[in-house]
Symmetry: C2
Subunit: 310 residues, 2 copies
């Protein structure tokens, strides 16, 4: 039950999520039971689908993620990962320390054998209403061509299983549409992704430029290094905030609001983990929980394992 505005906002968001979750889903809350109860003006804890696992420690913003994850054994993040690894929960999400969440992903959950580097992804709503998945959005600032080619597999599986996109069109973010365009990285990546397309690993549709990212017309999955992806993500967020500030309200823009996105899936690891924004509102918490259920109910992780089994 982390996040900058926990537990109040987290409890509120969790309660609102219940209305959307399957009757078969159990929502397990990790946090201080008394604090949760004090914040519960909604009857959240009385719902038969809700369980509380009491934790006594908190990983703070200033804590060193690796140390905190190891030492604060009874924090909600540490306990949550133990439950995830033990199979007691099918997916885990938190708006708490992003650093500690990543430590949990890499150390407790671990990456899938054959994966060179896990990635984090963001889904944007496109101008025509569907979603486009961008990855990596910041986990690996420097990527090798082989890493980007694998991200095509990540994105394709996530888009198919969790976003519900059939035969997702996978593209490489580039500065020209022609195969020979690009920087050293994208020029070296293109033939590897084309090979993945040829062998049927995924539906590679070639290069896509920034101007086509949000149209939804060219690609469902856009692969790039974490520097480019993070920059793009933040530019779009900045654009969104400027237009909000100027009183522009159109549905397309609302689809770019992080509160509606739900969070950032960590892909290429042995379980389903979603990282929420630290400053999550109740709406963002609700959508984070809904996204986690959506991803955990698919066979995403086993599809990942099959894809990387050689």
């Amino acid at each position: 039950m982390g996040g900058d505005f926990a537990p109040q906002v987290t409890v509120e968001g969790a309660h609102a999520a219940l209305a959307h979750l399957s009757e078969q889903t159990t929502l397990v809350l990790f946090g201080d039971r008394a604090a949760l109860a004090a914040a519960d003006n909604y009857g959240l804890l009385d719902d038969p689908r809700v369980e509380v696992v009491h934790t006594t420690e908190v990983i703070a913003m200033g804590d060193h993620p690796v140390k905190a994850f190891a030492q604060k054994n009874d924090s909600s993040i540490a306990v949550g990962f133990r439950h995830l690894c033990g199979g007691e929960i099918a997916g885990f999400a938190s708006a708490g320390s992003t650093g500690a969440m990543m430590v949990g992903c890499m150390q407790a959950v671990g990456q899938i054998e054959g994966v060179i580097r896990p990635a984090i992804a963001t889904a944007f709503q496109t101008a025509r209403g569907g979603e486009v998945l961008l990855l990596d959005v910041g986990l690996n600032a420097d990527c090798k061509p082989e890493v980007l080619a694998q991200y095509g597999i990540f994105g394709s599986i996530y888009a198919r299983t969790t976003l519900g996109i059939e035969n997702p069109r996978v593209a490489l973010l580039n500065i020209g549409e022609e195969a020979e365009k690009g920087n050293l990285l994208t020029k070296a990546t293109y033939p590897l992704m084309a090979e993945c397309g040829a062998t049927g690993a995924y539906n590679f549709v070639g290069n896509v430029e920034g101007k086509h990212l949000l149209t939804g017309e060219v690609a469902d999955v856009v692969v790039c290094d974490g520097f480019s992806g993070n920059t793009l993500l933040k530019t779009v967020e900045g654009f969104y905030h400027i237009l909000q500030g100027k009183g522009v309200h159109v549905p397309f823009l609302e689809g770019l609001n992080y509160e509606n996105v739900g969070g950032t899936p960590v892909l290429g690891i042995n379980s389903t983990v979603i990282i929420g924004h630290g400053c999550s509102s109740a709406l963002a918490i609700t959508n984070m929980i809904r996204l986690t259920e959506r991803a955990a109910r698919t066979d995403m992780v086993s599809q990942f394992k099959r894809a990387f089994k050689h």
Copy 2:
């Protein structure tokens, strides 16, 4: 008088520009005199400030830029560069072949001694009304740290002389605000730019993230490699087009319309050259000419030369 819609639109745009140009400015048109006259429904060619230099060849879209520039000696681009290098004109702009324009910049005009790599830049209107300059936006997809550090000088001089920004704040595009954040390139670039800040080469204000690019609150000049810059530029353009298509019209967005930007200055070379969009409308041609006058009337090039004189 190049551009996809030349000469009709080019003549129209040039005529509209006249009203904004100084009485001391001469507008020299390079192109087929008969074609210009046939397109001139505005009395452009009768204006005492207008001169025509007759040219007989055209560099076409499909032409190889290097070959075309060398062989089509009497094209408007080749003749224009000869006039520029001969000092007969103070600045040169075209919406014709971007490739041939770049060949002219590199081969005919040449880069300033001490400059490692020239750059192309784009000015965006910011949310608070001023401008922010982004460079490089596509000339050098792969940059070394030393190149980016020099781009701070380029941007600072252009912002001061042509955009009229006093003591421009120069920032490095990055994926975090802290000095130690980034990919290999930006981590290596930061100390070099900090050194430029310390020695007074420019006013370095540190890292800036994509979300702050268009706010105008953090930086006046944002330096990045050409891959990142081109991607950002095209993402912003794409965003603009989507919102236009959805009927959103606010002044901030209009400031991002390429027609109002005027064109792309080529920086780090021995003269003033502005490259227009191939698909320039009359309004874009007008603003390209106005920008060229604005840049050519400053001492930008001599400031560049002084900055790189060691």
